[in-house]
Structure formats: structure tokens, C-alpha cells
Symmetry: C2
Subunit: 213 residues, 2 copies
Amino acid sequence: MSDVVENSRREKLVEAAATLFHRRGVEATTLKDVAHASGVPMGSVFYYYPTKDDLTAAVIARRAAHVVDMLERHSRRAGPVGRLHALVDVWMSDRYVDAQFGCPIGSLCFEVARVRRLDATAPFQTLIDWAESQFRALGAGAKSRAHAAHLVAALQGISLMASVMSAPDLIAGEVAYLKNWIRGLRILDEHPRRQAARRTAERAASTHRSRST
Amino acid sequence: MSDVVENSRREKLVEAAATLFHRRGVEATTLKDVAHASGVPMGSVFYYYPTKDDLTAAVIARRAAHVVDMLERHSRRAGPVGRLHALVDVWMSDRYVDAQFGCPIGSLCFEVARVRRLDATAPFQTLIDWAESQFRALGAGAKSRAHAAHLVAALQGISLMASVMSAPDLIAGEVAYLKNWIRGLRILDEHPRRQAARRTAERAASTHRSRST
DNA sequence: GTCTATATTACGATAGAC
DNA sequence: GTCTATCGTAATATAGAC
């Protein structure tokens, strides 16, 4: 669940920084901007975060924690298909801001990684690992890792393109595309006979479930 | 073919700027860096490009022209599958630098678009339009636009992730994935009978071609 | 057209009073 | 712990000699 409620002053700073880093990028936002947006005077930001890199690392850690929380929430859903759909639906909901500023995770991690003064691998590592285990649960076997990378890449790429083109509809289209792909994966990886059997069983199970709940 | 050979001084400046913008990002590279890398003294860069935005616009135009040239080259290939494969193979060849600094097109256009002082839509517009017409030639019909967006998004996303994770293999894996997907698309959009007929015909044609050339 | 020398501004960071 | 005042540096950009 992660210790989110912290000292309040520190928390206000990372929160403001996270928003500004998303909207303008980290190089383009000044610490004065962060101070102003958070209502904390300039001198104090250096008390809490001695350097800009320290603040940036805190923003990355915050994003990583949010990813963990989000995936934990989605993991409570019924099957792997529903979980993966829940993940891509996040991009659907966020599409209007992402089409302005890009994905908050991707843009941040990329900018930081390119200069390479900080480690920013955590959010993507978590995302790919989680997706992989969903694909594995779905029966994709050895292909699961590639599927996971493909899924996360598609979401990142479409966010980038949508922001370049100012086109939230690009995200909506890709989300539909991906959900359909995920749905269809089960069909391809199975023998027709088994497939028919499983589907009949599932239909029965889902009818039963929707009645009993 | 676009007027590439220009005055030499201007050209040296955009070339150096393009490289540095790719390696560090535009915000993070100073005009002094560009002056030094191109061997042009500080005062002269302002003679050719009065502001940093002017230089940045020139770099974007240069990238856009390169995309046009590249696609023109790939358009000379035999069929739509071969053309699309040729496109994704570019990412395969570039994977080691892209895994360090990201895709030179995506990283540049995104950074510029987020601050939104310049138009950076051209490269992606060209890329998507071209891919769409290939998918259409392939018989994907109304789905062609979505396929095109999906393809370019996948390439952009995997470049971003590869650079965050310092993992060129991610790109190699995704390229294999995409080539296989493109190959398989024909199968899905066709009736099994027609499919078998076409494949037999193609096999014969390709055997004939490989002999005659 | 070319380049040196410099103006101007604003950034990250510090010192030190409270 | 908190905040004001300010330092040193480096960025974009200009002026003006050649």
C-alpha cells in the first residue's frame, strides 16, 4: 500500500513536481515553478530535496508506487482477460490528458533514462512482469514475455503519437484494438476442440456467476 | 528527393543539432554544444538560426525529409508485406542506438510537441499514411488505418521502453513479433479456400522469381 | 558573411537570520 | 524547521569589429 501520507510538506513537493514534470518535462520545469505550485518557498525545497535529481528520484518512486497500487487493484479482478482489459482501460480514461502531455510514466522515465543520472526502470519492470504473468495465466506459455512487451509498448507508443498529433482518438482506437487482440489470443493458442470445450464451460460458469452475485 | 546539399554551413548546424537532440534531448543541449560539435563559432549559429526554435524547426524538417526518402526507397520493393517488413527492419538495424537514446523521430517530436511552440506532426503523419496504404494494398480495407497506427505505435513504444531499460533485445523481439503479425494478417482477412489458392500461386511465383533473378 | 566579446536573464544552489 | 536574500554559473541572444 506504500506510506503515502507522509510529512505533507515533502509530499506536496513531489506531487507538484510530478504534475509539472508531466506537463512540461523535467528539464523544462524549474524548481521555482515547483516551489510556486506547491506553495513552498524556494529555500525550503532545498531543505527537503538537496538537489533537483533528488526530487526527480522521489517523483519516479512515487510513480512506481502508483503502478504497484494500480496493478494490485486490477489483480483482484476475475480472470487474466479482465485484468488485462482493466489495464488498457486506464489509458482509455486518461486519453485526454495523455493526448496533451503523453503518458506520465513513459515521458518521465524516458527523459530521465536518456540523461542517465538516475534509475527509472522500476515502473516498466513492474508493468511488464505483471502483464507477463497475466498472459501466462491465459495460457500463452513461452510467448507471454513477448506479449507483455508488445502490450506495454503499444500503450506507450500510442500515447506518444497521440500527444504529438493532439489526437485522443488514436488512443481510443488502439485500446479497442488491444482489447480485441487480448480476447482473441485464447483462440489462437488452443486446439479448436479444446477451445470449444473451454468456451462452453466458461459460458456456463459466467452465467452461473452472474446469477449468484 | 529534397534539397539536402545546401549551403554546407547551415547543413552542418542542423546535422550536429540533430545528433545532439537525439542523444540528450533538445532542452538539455545548449547552442554552445551545437556550435562546438559543428565547428561553427557561437555568433554564427545566430546568423543562420536567429533562435533555438528556428534551429529546432530545421531539425524536425530534416527528420521529416529523411522519413519521406526512406519510405520512397521502401516503396520500390515488391509487395506490401515486403515493404512493411522493410520498415520494421529499420528499427532492427538501429536498435543499439535506439536502446540508448530512443527513436530519433519519436523523442524529438514528443519533446517539441509537449512544449507546443512548433509543429512536429509531419514525420508521423507521413509514416502512418504510408503504412495505411500498405495495409490497404494488403487487403485490410477499413482496418488499414488502425493497423497503421498500431504498427507505428508498437515501434515507438518499444524504442522508448528499450531505452529506459537499456535493452536492444526488446526491439529485436518486437520486430520479430511485428513481422510475424504482418505475415499473418493476410490469413485472417481471407476465406480459407481463397487463402490456400493465393498461397499456392504465390509460392509458384516466388520460386519463379528467385530463379529468374 | 564571419567571429569575438559581451549583455541579459534565469537557473540551481547556499548562507544565514529567525 | 522555515524562509529571505543572494551567490555563481551558464544559458540564449546581441553588438559591433573585421
